[in-house]
Subunit: 264 residues, 4 copies
């Protein structure tokens, strides 16, 4: 499946403001970037680096006035996501080194405090994929998707108390409970085709039986058509824009469109 996706951000900048951005999707397993565009208006010097998780990050100093950021990507991605009912948990001592960091608690995923909850939610499930799917289904079933109840400091525990939140919160709950079972989980920021309402999106992946699998507690069933912007331990590692100064985000819009068959 080929998708065009992109987002527009409008900032009001009140003073010269250093900013970190994470808005350039990379090709990876299951995602191939065919074309890409990244525009800053006004044009300012920008540099780029890869963070500890391999995400491409951009660094600018925004000038006072309006800053318009527009990024766009054409990606070849999977129509469906892989499913693996019954796939076993990978024992901790056999996890690849680069996966181990996703096993521990993080800012928004207090897995250490959620062992009982995780056991309850997954009671009866085979250790591994089925446990994670039980977690995902439980969140989807028991939580209300609602804007405005959570904010930047809302963590998995907060969301479990409230039983409501947005994609970011659902992902944090999924991650925290999955890790509480000794299964690595990571946060994914990206786009989802035909998401309703359209917006930037977040979900999570769990590492079972030797590879990462996709889980999205906001959706009723498995769905492909995903464009990945970045990976991290939780939303902290994948902030799309981090200003260090007095700024105001006036507008943010995301979009995803299927590429017509005929397109080159």
């Amino acid at each position: 499946m080929r998708l065009d996706a992109g987002c527009e951000l409008e900032f009001e900048i009140l003073e010269p403001t250093p900013m970190l951005l994470m808005l350039r999707p990379r090709s990876g397993e299951g995602q191939w970037v065919e074309a890409e565009r990244y525009a800053l208006q006004p044009r300012v010097p920008a540099s780029e680096y890869a963070d500890a998780w391999g995400n491409l990050c951009q660094r600018i100093v925004a000038r006072p006035g309006r800053l318009h950021i527009s990024t766009q990507v054409r990606v070849d991605t999977d129509d469906t996501i892989a499913l693996a009912p019954g796939a076993p948990r990978t024992p901790v001592d056999q996890l690849p080194v680069e996966v181990i960091g996703f096993l521990l608690a993080s800012r928004y995923a207090e897995s250490d405090a959620l062992a009982d909850q995780a056991r309850d939610v997954t009671a009866g499930a085979t250790p591994g994929y089925d446990q994670v799917e039980a977690i995902r289904a439980w969140i989807h079933r028991s939580f209300e998707y609602r804007y405005g109840v959570s904010n930047e400091s809302t963590s998995a525990r907060d969301t479990i108390r409230m039983r409501k939140g947005v994609c970011r919160d659902f992902a944090h709950v999924g991650i925290a409970l999955t890790r509480a079972l000794g299964i690595p989980a990571r946060y994914v920021a990206g786009y989802l085709h035909e998401l309703e309402p359209m917006d930037l999106h977040a979900w999570f992946e769990a590492y079972v039986d030797g590879r990462w699998y996709t889980f999205d507690a906001t959706q009723a069933g498995p769905r492909g058509g995903r464009v990945i912007i970045g990976y991290g331990r939780d939303a902290l590692d994948v902030a799309l824009a981090t200003p260090f100064g007095d700024t105001k985000l006036d507008n943010m819009q995301a979009w995803v469109r299927a590429v017509p068959e005929a397109a080159g």
Copy 2:
């Protein structure tokens, strides 16, 4: 200054338990490992890797029964720590890439929620080193060092409310307030010569004027004689032992001794 330092951990293991350990100090800037010993009793297969911050981590599967871990290191380290009154803040856009990750909030250091607090505490201080020293002095002056009031889930905000805690909590407050000013800060786990009472220790470093400086809010004044075990964003990244299973830590002891002049 040459120091011998070490620690002993005794676990009761109830089932075969994968464990992650971070108990092997590395040579680095300002610390040279002359000799080192790492013993597991009973002996079990162990492997080692470097994590995202360069710390050496060990992986074992502990067998049911007693597990005794004993590590020891002889290090050549600085007698004093560098001070830099008046040293300016490094602008965010000039920070080295590997330092940027230490600028953002983390699990125990909710810097995003502490901007006002940080401004209050550092009112009147020159941006940079002097701000961090003001934070350090404020913690030392206003907080009570007390065991038993904090636990694994206590964060900088919790500690600021309570005004008491241990070295780990003091470090988290220092880190959170420092980052809230746009200054990178990292957590350091290690040993301190003549610490009273002797224990494993934690402090923090701040990046100003192009390098890292050491700050320790538990101490009245600057002190050298430090042996570093690991660096991280906060205590989460530098857990000395993480069991994945049913275990009990029965005993933990740390010690530091100056190496006699004559020693080879």
Copy 3:
């Protein structure tokens, strides 16, 4: 200066052939990727990773038949390159860790065997930038730019013997002699605006006085307008296409154009 650059490669593939490609320029210091396109015809599954030097590498299995690769990039880059006459050599013990690897001999740059040559060529020059410029000027003055005299196995020593070669060979000589003086040097593959005749290009960078400087022995004087595809110790690390099987490269074309002022 904004440039559009790109290349076209046509392969004849005789059997299913794994290939490594390095054809996706990255934003970095002094180069900002505004837009980019990477097309494989026929479309085949492709994945991407960053190598030890941070270059983005692509991996495919080409199918028997024709394979057409077309990449294109719009870059904001410097009009001129930085010059630093008199800038001193950075002492080896003060080099950043990530630079040290560029100090040692490599496949095509046998610096260990060229100490005398390096001393001769730079006699009288101030240690540092001026030495490297003396090397660059000597190559430009003494070597003939000629196609067909060198091949994949030609090294700096070979080229010094022959006194002729292409951009790749000139860069290897520059790198080998620079390293022979204890100055780190790296190979750069990329595009140069208004290169005559137009082709993919290669030059080198040397690390003096705390940063990398650009040197191009194929040119009479300093020139900006460069688009960087990859960095490496020598050409071995920056091969644009490496097939593992029976293939034939039928055609390769590169182009660079200035972006009209009015373009968005």
Copy 4:
């Protein structure tokens, strides 16, 4: 098998000389460092870093006069090496990213020029482990182990011409021919228990069927009891001592001893 191993190096230093050292073995898969000692006499400031392959490297500035380096390690290592007759070649497109770099030619292993030779030597062998074993056996059978015929610039091609050399040369031939078959190979520097005559040693590993296997063309049959100091593409990446200045290596000695059963 527990081994004590170590080496002594004596340099005569004529001027203040920056040096890179690689003399600190690390724990890894199949090797656990129980204790370790690293002494520089006279004591000079030293720092340490991990290179691109994960090896620990030390950096000093040696002072004029004598420099004595003495390192020692106690390691728990395998008694035997794994064998895998018939294990298949891992297709290039399925190699882990970190292995790919070991597939390409390098300074002393001109694999691109040795395809025919590799085919000849492995004629009739099953693609994978058996090919590498055929290469290893061919070297052992056809090459004479002799000191003094090779030097720092001797490459695999040179050694194939001469049919003689030392462990380093044998390893380079093995690596070059293995890579010429599209099988990743890496150079290992280390110690071998009961090596005759005792010295620092080198051998190679090949990546087949999803993991690295050990091959040593200097030995008649498979032998364990190995202590690994470092990995690299070839000897260039694993130089134990690299002085940048006027020095003389007066003496070098290596030793390996089995640890008595009773030792703690």
